[in-house]
Structure formats: structure tokens, C-alpha cells
Symmetry: C2
């Protein structure tokens, strides 16, 4: 009979039916919420091992180290888990100050004002 | 022939196959990420109309005004949308300073340290 290995940190993460959890990336220095993406088990493990924010790209069906093409990597300083274990928070420093693929500092650049989304920032 | 109504702000939100989007609640004053939950169309509309953060409870299959039982409501100051339109950010003030159902200020109270989740805050 084999004894099960002790439950590791990853076993406390409650992945959904697709094997994914949402991940919020927050900039440690400014507190800005930069983006929300998804991670699978391997993405969380690679984030911890590499120190760089890694996600699972649903559109490309593969691991995705943020900034692998743009150079706008995210150095991960803390990994936090919520009360239900089903959401992760990366506290990061954003290389180049640009998290969004549109060239903006954060992906959340539209604010609801008077019934419309007003764009708050133009691309750098 | 009827003319379609002009697309409103809600039509720019990219709900998933279940009709939901993830919502990050961030405390405006401290910058703390408080929680992540889900919203459907009605939850977003009620949030805007009421000024109080409203979500869709997947476990109870109904709209859920945060704090409706605990009193720990969230006054919403800004509603932001990300680049892809598939994630929403509420900038809130958290009544009572307690967002988590465990009695803690934020749901993200576990930090990965040395291969374990360390609890950072005890309930108030």
C-alpha cells in the first residue's frame, strides 16, 4: 500500500471544472489592479518556480508567461489565495509599466460615466 | 420593422456562456483587493442603480447584494471594465472594514510562504 503524499499548497487551490482559477494581478507599488487572467496547476507552479507571472491562455490553450513576447513581464512578489481557495492574487512589479496588450498601464482603463464607458488612458 | 435600440454600456460587457463575468472588488481608500465574485447582467444593472455592490451568487442561484445579511455592504464609487470587456472592477468603500465572510478585512488573507499558505489576518 502506498501512502498519499502530504497535501501541498497546490492542493488547497480549488480549480474549476476546466482546471482553472481566476488570477488577479495587482501592482505592489501602486496598488493598481492590472489585469485578471486564468491559471491552471502548471501555471501556478511555474509562477512560483520562476518568479514571473504565468497564466493559462484559454485562446491559445497553453501556458503563457506574461510578457513573453512584449517584454512586459511581471515579477511576482507575493502569491495570495482567497477564503474559498478559488481565486489567486499575484502581487507584482510590472516591467515597463504596461500590463495591457493595448499599451496601457492597466487593462481596466474604461470607467462607467453617464451610461457610457469612458476611456481613461491612451496607449503609451 | 423595429429599429434596434442603441447599444448600451451593458452590451459592451462580454458575459461568458453562463451569462457571468468575474468582478474584482477593490477598496478605493486603501487599494486592497477585497474579493472576487461573479455578476450577471442584472447584478451589474442593480449595482449601478443602487450604488451598492451586487453580485450573482452561483451557490444560491440568485442576485446577492453584498452585506445584505452581515451589514457589510460595499458602496460603489466606480465601475471599470477591462480591455476585453470580460472582467469588471468595482472600486468600493467597504462598510465595517470587513469584506470576507470569515470576518477578515479581505478574502485574500493567505500568502504562499515556504510551500505553505500562511494566514495573515485573524477574524475581527
Amino acid at each position: 500500500m502506498s501512502t498519499p503524499a502530504p497535501a501541498g499548497w497546490i492542493d488547497e487551490v480549488a480549480f474549476d471544472a476546466r482546471g482553472l482559477v481566476p488570477v488577479v494581478a495587482q501592482e505592489r507599488s501602486s496598488g493598481a489592479v492590472l489585469m485578471v487572467a486564468w491559471a491552471d496547476r502548471a501555471a501556478l507552479e511555474q509562477t512560483l518556480a520562476s518568479g514571473f507571472a504565468t497564466y493559462y491562455s484559454r485562446s491559445r490553450s497553453r501556458l503563457w508567461r506574461k510578457g513573453e513576447e512584449s517584454g512586459h513581464v511581471q515579477r511576482v512578489h507575493e502569491i495570495l489565495l482567497d477564503c474559498d481557495g478559488d481565486t489567486v492574487l499575484y502581487l507584482v512589479e510590472q516591467e515597463g509599466g504596461i500590463a495591457c496588450h493595448t499599451g496601457r498601464p492597466t487593462c481596466f482603463f474604461r470607467r462607467l460615466e453617464g451610461g457610457r464607458w469612458r476611456v481613461l488612458a491612451e496607449p503609451a
